[in-house]
Symmetry: C2
Subunit: 207 residues, 2 copies
DNA sequence: GTGTCATATGACACTACTGTCATTTACTTG
DNA sequence: CAAGTAAATGACAGTAGTGTCATATGACAC
């Protein structure tokens, strides 16, 4: 976490620093991102950076949790899930991911890179216990829907959670690679409906 | 591609170099992998390396295509797909991925990292046209199965290809993270069957 | 105005590489 | 063996960073 000195800075200066850091992480990824370039972009002296942050990981942790995490969260929070169909919740989850990407492409990109980080030690250092929250949410949701008969009890919950996380992140990646898909012209929603159709009915679709 | 000088080396020396390079790529990933460390491990002089390879990307390309690619390929090649059920082909695809990981964990790891590379330019440089081969294989397979009535024609082919690729790589990753799953004690196959069940029947499973 | 504290600053020493090149060595063949 | 070619070698110059530290500056308190 940054030092008190950093938090004492004016909002403008903090924003200047964070923006430059986000740019650098976005452009070069965690590994190749260089503090030298970032302080150059933000036009702050080298010494100052080390007065604010311990090192690159310290800066990254702050950005992932306090910048990326908090903004992303706000996109998937406001609905009354209890009354919604499971597939509609999934749809909203996927769409909120795309909307986040559209509004904050750099932050979304950084988030995606973070999710794909192989170094689990680093990931754990950064996330602490908050990684479990998403898992709990899905687990409760799925088990609730099983009891309502909306999801077959033959489906393994853990497997379905993994499955959903996988296709969710791949859906956003697919959107990024095919940027001509947009929510506005509906192509994206058509694609999404195809995917949810497959998820719901399986290959045979003959119910 | 390596120079003729490299190919002229004895098999032992080539193996020594490739093994050291594979180790380094495995341990540090493409970005952080250092030629300095690798030549140190292989105990070849710096000048020699540059007599064999142009640079890191040249070495990487060679390893991806001629070492990883060719070995991986051999795991999913020998069956008579035409007579098999679609789900059994999928099963074999997933299992062959796990078997490859078990026999060649470093190579499999390098392959997974390669698939997740964000720099599409680099990826294209390395793969050339061979990236399209896998896609064609699945496309033919799926359309063939649609005409046989094994897969519903309501399913979008492109989407299904993407879907399968996604869950395939996620399946191997899931296996890596849960190493207690093994083919020997059947846990892995049970998990795989659950996944294929979901893929086949969808969430409702009430056909 | 002086002391004190927080903060700002950039030169510096250090680390970890990369790619080159002049020189040496080894191998081959007439 | 002598000449000629292929390959091996490691010192070197250059690049791109990291983290530190002595010093400078500004602001406020008395």
């Amino acid at each position: 976490m940054p030092t008190q000195t950093f938090f004492n800075l004016s909002e403008d200066k903090k924003k200047l620093i964070i923006d430059a850091a986000v740019d650098e992480f976005f452009e070069n990824g965690y590994e190749k991102m260089s503090i030298a370039k970032m302080i150059n972009k933000a036009r702050i002296p080298r010494g100052s950076f080390y007065q604010y942050f311990e090192d690159k990981q310290d800066l990254y942790t702050f950005i992932i949790i306090n910048i990326v995490g908090s903004k992303k969260h706000s996109y998937f929070e406001n609905s009354n899930f209890d009354k919604m169909k499971f597939l509609d919740i999934m749809k909203e989850l996927f769409v909120s991911g795309v909307n986040f990407y559209k509004d904050e492409p750099k932050l979304a990109s950084i988030a995606t890179e973070f999710l794909n980080i192989k170094d689990l030690e680093l990931k754990r250092n950064i996330l602490g216990d908050s990684q479990k929250l998403g898992h709990e949410f899905f687990k409760n949701l799925i088990e609730n829907r099983k009891s309502r008969g909306e999801i077959s009890k033959d489906i393994d919950t853990e497997m379905l959670i993994y499955f959903i996380n996988t296709i969710n992140s791949s859906f956003v990646e697919y959107f990024i690679e095919h940027k001509n898909l947009t929510i506005e012209n509906n192509d994206l929603l058509i694609y999404l409906d195809k995917m949810l159709f497959l998820l719901n009915n399986g290959l045979q679709s003959n119910k």
